[in-house]
């Protein structure tokens, strides 16, 4: 494997992390499925979380984000 610090994968060279690469591959594969499987699998891509930014050591109001298929 290329671990000598020489050739890195093209996505790493472009600044992408492995997690992002893997998720992009998975969502592309899901887009190519036949109908009943496709809608089941798109439900797997949905995320639901709440984020709150911290300013001066205090949390601001949390924002609930619900993304599906970025």
């Amino acid at each position: 494997m290329a671990s000598s610090g020489g050739a890195v994968p093209f996505w790493r060279a472009a600044g992408m992390t492995y997690v992002r690469y893997s998720n992009i591959c998975a969502s592309l594969v899901r887009q190519c499925l036949k109908e009943p499987y496709r809608s089941e699998s798109l439900s797997r891509e949905k995320v639901h979380f709440s984020v709150s930014k911290w300013v001066d050591g205090k949390p601001e109001k949390p924002v609930v984000r619900e993304d599906s298929a970025e």
């Binding site: 690469y21 592309l28 190519c32």
Partner: protein, 195 residues
């Protein structure tokens, strides 16, 4: 009442965890320090004590490969004994037989085939890793793995054309990388559906 607790606890623990080696996986210096402070209570079990020990490497090559193939949302194969698996590693398709040298392989989008007797099951894997251990156990983890007949060829062709176009007009490194990923995944799907 509290004095009887360790004895009752020991008896119930002995019944449920009889097959797990208790003392070898406990840190002896911790146990001694515990005994000094409270000699009446049994030292707490650490997570390591609950783990089943790794199956040892047999001296002769086993006849079957044990495969655990898992996805984030379900486990496709759980300790299934097979003859061979062909995994789509970044270095090319790799055939794994019992007695394979211990390897960690990163998977690329491609077909994973499981050969058992005369039957072959093929999955298209989006990406993941395969860990092959010295004792002929293989753990394969993938984000998405779908049997090949669940794909729609027209969508695949459309996607390939779309990403080839995006690759041609891409300007920044990130756009180029994303378009390249699209082209790789769709062309792998294309050859999977054709062959």
């Amino acid at each position: 009442m509290l004095r009887l607790a360790p004895r009752l606890l020991r008896r119930s623990l002995a019944r449920t965890f009889a097959d797990v080696p208790a003392t070898p996986t406990q840190d002896s210096s911790f146990v001694q320090a515990w005994q000094k402070i409270n000699p009446n209570l049994d030292p707490p079990k650490t997570p390591l004590a609950f783990m089943t020990p790794r199956p040892p490497t047999p001296s002769s090559i086993p006849s079957k490969l044990t495969v655990n193939f898992v996805l984030p949302y379900q486990s496709e194969l759980a300790s299934k004994e097979v003859d061979m698996v062909i995994i789509p590693a970044t270095t090319g398709h790799m055939g794994v037989l019992p007695g394979h040298v211990a390897t960690i392989a990163e998977l690329r989008p491609g077909i994973l085939s499981v050969h058992e007797g005369s039957s072959v099951t093929k999955y298209f894997v989006s990406s993941g890793f395969a860990f092959i251990h010295a004792n002929s156990f293989a753990d394969i983890v993938a984000v998405e793995a779908v049997p090949v007949d669940r794909f729609d060829p027209t969508l695949v062709q459309k996607g390939l054309a779309e990403f080839q176009q995006k690759l041609a007009i891409a300007s920044t490194d990130l756009e180029k990388a994303e378009a390249q990923i699209g082209v790789d995944v769709h062309s792998a799907l294309n050859s999977a559906l054709a062959g």
